[in-house]
Amino acid sequence: MLIKELTELNGVSGNEDEVRKFIKEEAQKYADSITEDSMGNLICYKKGGSSKYRVMLSAHMDEVGFMVTGYDDGLIKFASIGGIDERILPGKRVLVGEKRIPGVIGSKPIHLQEKAERGNNIKLKNMYIDIGAEKKEEAEKLAPLGEYIAFYSMYTEFGDGCIKAKALDDRVGCAILLEILKERYGFDLYVCFTVQEEIGLRGAGVAAFRVNPDIAIVVEGTTCSDVPGAREHEYSTVMGNGAALTIMDRTSYSNKKLVDFMYKTAKDKNIPVQYKQTATGGNDAGKIQLTREGVVVASVSVPCRYIHSPVSVMNRRDYESCLNLVKAVLEEFDNNESLIESFKLHNVK
């Protein structure tokens, strides 16, 4: 499991270099060939036998983060890249740029807040990143306009099989795909590590166009809201209950037959599985589904509490469930290729 290594790398959308370099080095051990496209997607090819089918697996390398937008004396003004809950930002640690210059997200301390300010959330425009620079010129030199900024958070194991890290969404998917890449099947396998998911699923569509797959499975870290304040029917997923299958979300509608097949496979093999109960969120499956003349897609995810924060949390058992389910499904395809065709056909009993 490479989650520690993968989550401690920085790869904010648009600057996935560190992550790509690491994954490429790992993937080279197992892939027959690797293509790096103009956007930075990595497409790792594993040749099959005589089969005519192409199966695509996809996980995104990028993570939410920030970008330098300006200065207030030596302090850095910034914008979010991807969906970040502003409420969590005051008091967090960040690393600026490739040199990983440490900084903190500052705002007005409680003693100096007016009464109205105390009761309301601090707005992003009233926050700044403090790297200790005294003057604008110094800050500008160390953190030029447009520089990428990532959360700073160390991988930590805790509780009953839990892991806390930043960027579990979607380094957990990257870790699973690097495991799958060790396998070889009768069909051609394209394991894709995509860019820019967090700012609008930009990389995956391009990768899918190149691969032109018969079927695609997206492996993700997804929301998990099984916490106080949420009612049970609002739980998107439950941590520890296994691999989460998406039926529908804001961007995609998984192939019903494929999802049913994956659910049944999990049950047959005693792999813990659950449906994602809410239709919120969205991932690369949305873009892949609409590529060329359309692609059969499904998403399987590891539930992540406090997603898009520096302290996202997953359970190791859910990682295992997800990995085992993807493996089991690919083995079924390998044993019976006509399955792949069957998902594409409508009105066939």
Binding site: R87, Q113, N121, E134, S309, P310
Partner: protein
């Protein structure tokens, strides 16, 4: 003095108001290196005495810095093992989301502070600051496991990794007022090279954050002829009134106002000028909100001075200061102590 490592050790050592015993033991060890005698009183104030060369009639100068920190206390454990908390001291609930903590139960338990996820909040809720009672600690353990180790009333501290920033800036939790404790050590070290007639009583005090309690007790028991209180003041940040904040890195702030002894304060400012020690003036028209307020009116009254180290983002986990300001605080107060032996009587008039 290895400021960075001492600051790292002291700022991350747990010592929430009312439960400072272990920290007091740790600080007593640090005091022993420089003091003639060190004792811990019944309330866990740490008192280190450094004898003078005599000739001042056994006069005592007391120098205090509080050692306690703000924190949280376990209030309840729910049926799923989530823990709710109360605050000890002035904690801003807005900076607690996605924060890492340690619960000091039967053993130390790691946890993360969560709340209702953002996508489930109503538009009204999104604007409002999260309330302390809506925050929960997630330990990744079952309720049964949590109850084995955690009890209502257990102390919770923030878990952070200190950062060294540009320009000798340092960021961590609890620099309010461990920075002051480091300044005490710095004065001691300076005094090993300077003659001083008076006996100096260094006190790292308890329970400042919950009402200046430790200093009250220490002032009564020691009954000094002069007291110097070291604390932190607000570092200058955007959007705050310039007259009540102090730029970090521009020297300690010497307070003036009715809480402080006028002649001694004047002498200290003159000394700073003579010795070219950078300083700022902290105008305090009334309650300084520090131990000086309690000490001044102990017994028949004690001439009191207040020197503050500018600190940004007070009462957050990213409190940020300049190490130079600590050094200059140490230098200024040590020089002042070595000077006052001769001029004490004059000052007292």
């Amino acid at each position: 003095m290895d400021y960075i490592n001492i600051l790292k050790d002291l700022s991350t050592y747990p010592g929430v108001s009312g439960q400072e015993d272990k920290l007091s033991g740790y600080i007593a060890k640090l005091f022993e290196k420089y003091c003639d005698s060190v004792e811990i009183d019944e309330f866990y104030n740490v008192i280190g005495i450094k004898k003078g060369i005599g000739g001042s009639g056994g006069r005592r100068i007391m120098v205090t810095a509080h050692l306690d920190e703000i924190g949280l206390m376990v209030k309840s454990i729910d049926e799923k093992g989530f823990i709710t908390v109360s605050n000890i001291g002035g904690v801003d609930s807005k900076v607690l989301l996605a924060q890492e903590v340690v619960i000091h139960g039967k053993k130390e338990i790691y946890g993360i502070i969560g709340a209702k996820p953002p996508h489930l909040l109503t538009p009204e809720e999104i604007k409002k600051a999260v309330k302390m009672e809506d925050l929960v600690i997630d330990t990744g353990l079952s309720a049964e496991e949590v109850r084995k180790y955690v009890s209502v009333g257990d102390i919770v501290t923030f878990k952070v990794e200190p950062l060294v920033l540009q320009n000798n800036r340092f960021s961590s939790k609890s620099l309010d007022n461990r920075a002051g404790v480091v300044a005490l050590l710095d004065i001691m070290e300076n005094l090993t090279l300077l003659n001083h007639k008076d006996d100096v009583w260094f006190v790292a005090t308890v329970q400042e954050e919950v009402g200046l309690r430790g200093a009250n007790i220490a002032a009564y028991n020691i009954n000094p002829d002069l007291a110097i209180v070291i604390d932190v003041c607000h570092g200058q940040i955007p959007g705050t009134p310039k007259e009540s904040v102090f730029p970090v890195g521009k020297g300690p702030a010497v307070a003036v106002g009715p809480n402080l002894h006028r002649k001694y304060t004047k002498k200290m400012i003159e000394l700073a000028k003579e010795e070219n020690i950078p300083y700022q003036i902290d105008v305090e028209p009334g309650d300084t909100g520090t131990e000086a307020w309690a000490v001044q009116v102990s017994r028949e009254g004690i001439p009191t001075l207040l020197v503050s180290i500018p600190l940004k983002y007070m009462h957050t986990v990213i409190e940020t200061l300049s190490i130079d300001d600590i050094k200059n605080t140490g230098r200024l107060i040590a020089r002042f102590i070595s000077m006052t032996g001769n001029e004490m009587e004059e000052g007292l008039c």
